[in-house]
């Protein structure tokens, strides 16, 4: 990577640190826009995927159609998905958010269902035997036990979304992609390099943070590992 970031091909360099120093405000604004878009899409995705997955794990025959529909959504290229909505929602944030949310659905639904399926039958029986109502059993027993699989899904969805958000810059939604396009239009590599590296860094940090969240949210997993 050092050689890549070293001397440029046309005499223009891959990164110009003085530009970075002079533009920290712009960089942090773009980074914030990027995080907001990815985060909103992830939150909307969770709001839709959680009930869908709970429904599918209860009514099994609903699972294949749900996975097919979310699978087709997942296959549609992001630029195409933005373009589909353009005639209806214009160059708005919704035009970016709807497809981004849709992309997270397949990953999230699949992982939540996997997590709920993995809850041991004895545990569910025991809860029922103790007189837990179905909703209480779901909230207090099944969902907490499914947390590792759910967070695994959130990790994949979050990293995927962070990687997809740059394309939203093509329909004017800012974020680090806007920095890339800006650099490109001015034939100036530094903003593109900085934005690209920040996208990767954001993905790495987010992924690591979610691993930490999982550890904190499932203390029993650590304890049992120590005991074993």
């Amino acid at each position: 990577m050092t050689s890549l970031l070293g001397a440029g091909y046309n005499g223009s360099s891959w990164i110009d640190w003085s530009w970075v120093n002079d533009h920290t405000t712009e960089i942090s604004t773009r980074l914030r826009e990027h995080i907001v878009l990815a985060l909103l899409a992830l939150l909307y995705g969770l709001v839709i995927a959680l009930p869908l997955a709970i429904l599918a794990s209860r009514k099994r025959r609903l699972l294949p159609p749900i996975l097919s529909v979310t699978g087709v959504l997942y296959t549609i290229p992001s630029l195409a998905a933005f373009a589909f909505l353009l005639p209806f929602t214009g160059l708005s944030r919704e035009t970016a958010l709807i497809p981004l949310t849709a992309y997270s659905l397949l990953i999230l639904v699949r992982n939540v269902v996997t997590g709920l399926d993995g809850v041991p039958a004895e545990v569910v029986e025991a809860a029922r035997g103790m007189g837990y109502s179905a909703p209480r059993q779901l909230v207090q027993i099944e969902l907490p036990l499914a947390v590792p699989a759910i967070i695994a899904g959130i990790r994949i969805a979050a990293v995927t979304l962070i990687g997809l958000v740059p394309v939203a810059a093509l329909i004017g939604q800012g974020g680090l992609g806007a920095m890339m396009l800006d650099g490109f239009q001015r034939d100036f590599r530094t903003p593109i390099t900085v934005a690209g590296v920040l996208v990767i860094a954001l993905a790495v940090v987010t992924d690591a943070a979610l691993v930490l969240v999982q550890r904190l949210a499932t203390p029993w997993a650590r304890r049992s590992r120590v005991a074993a």
Binding site: N10, A80, G183, F184, R189, T193
Partner: protein
């Protein structure tokens, strides 16, 4: 408000149908067939090149069961690979001009696009190959060694066939991502189906944008289905992931992004 939008929608879709009915849109360098072929050509050669790079590395690392941590983190972060940045930087470095004839004859019409697509396609193939190989049951490997097979024979005749479903899943993931991302090539002045979207955006022609989106989406779905058929054809029947047989041989894969 509802009926007005509905009427507008019907009108709009009428324009889209008219676009497709117009014979001018079916020939020449801006025509649908030409752009579809261009799109598929660059996608295919990039995917092939990525497989040539990733498959041997994944096979060897998986066979030796080394570097697993690297292979897996590589793929996880690979999902966030900023293809747009790679494409734009490659254009600034190499220019958008037509590449040498050798490249063009094998289908590389745009060198920067090729670089961005290869970079995008390598991680899923590499990781799935590694995970597939490393997941082959130890007893099975030892049985093969016990039968007198050499390491290379075990790799080729036992591990590779067993790992094939996961390897193919990786190839499918890459293929869909490549076809999707090839759309961006139009932004840097090259062709493919992204042309309709980018050109349409530039002149606020929503019909053209929508047509491009429709064609790209259809192409992605067709590629995904076609590779699914290839997978069913090449994977040994006892090992089809869909049927979930023989759990003793294939460990259930972690949910992949396919």
């Amino acid at each position: 408000m509802g009926p007005a939008i509905a009427r507008g929608g019907v009108n709009f879709l009428g324009h889209v149908v008219d676009w497709f009915a117009n014979g001018d849109h079916w020939h020449g360098r801006e025509g649908v067939p030409y752009l579809v072929v261009q799109h598929l050509e660059i996608s295919a050669i990039s995917l092939l090149f990525a497989i040539v790079i990733a498959l041997p590395i994944g096979l060897v690392l998986g066979h030796l069961r080394r570097g697993g941590f690297l292979a897996v983190s590589f793929s996880n972060i690979g999902r966030a690979l900023p293809s747009l940045a790679i494409l734009l930087l490659a254009v600034l470095a190499f220019g958008v001009g037509s590449p040498p004839k050798v490249f063009r004859t094998v289908g590389i019409g745009s060198f920067p696009t090729f670089i961005a697509l290869v970079a995008l396609a390598v991680p899923p193939v590499l990781t799935n190959t590694y995970v597939g190989m490393a997941g082959v049951d130890t007893e099975l490997r030892e049985a093969a060694r016990g039968m007198g097979m050499s390491g290379a024979q075990v790799l080729r005749r036992v591990e590779l066939p067993v790992a094939l479903p996961l390897i193919m899943a990786g190839v499918r993931t890459s293929a869909v991502a490549v076809v999707a991302t090839a759309t961006l090539a139009a932004y840097v002045g090259w062709g493919g189906l992204g042309r309709y979207i980018i050109d349409g955006l530039a002149v606020s022609d929503n019909v053209r944008v929508f047509v491009g989106a429709l064609l790209v989406a259809l192409l992605s779905i067709v590629v995904e289905l076609a590779l699914g058929a290839v997978q069913r054809a090449v994977v040994s029947r006892g090992l089809q992931l869909r049927d979930q047989p023989a759990p003793a041989v294939v460990q259930r894969p972690a949910p992949t992004n396919a």
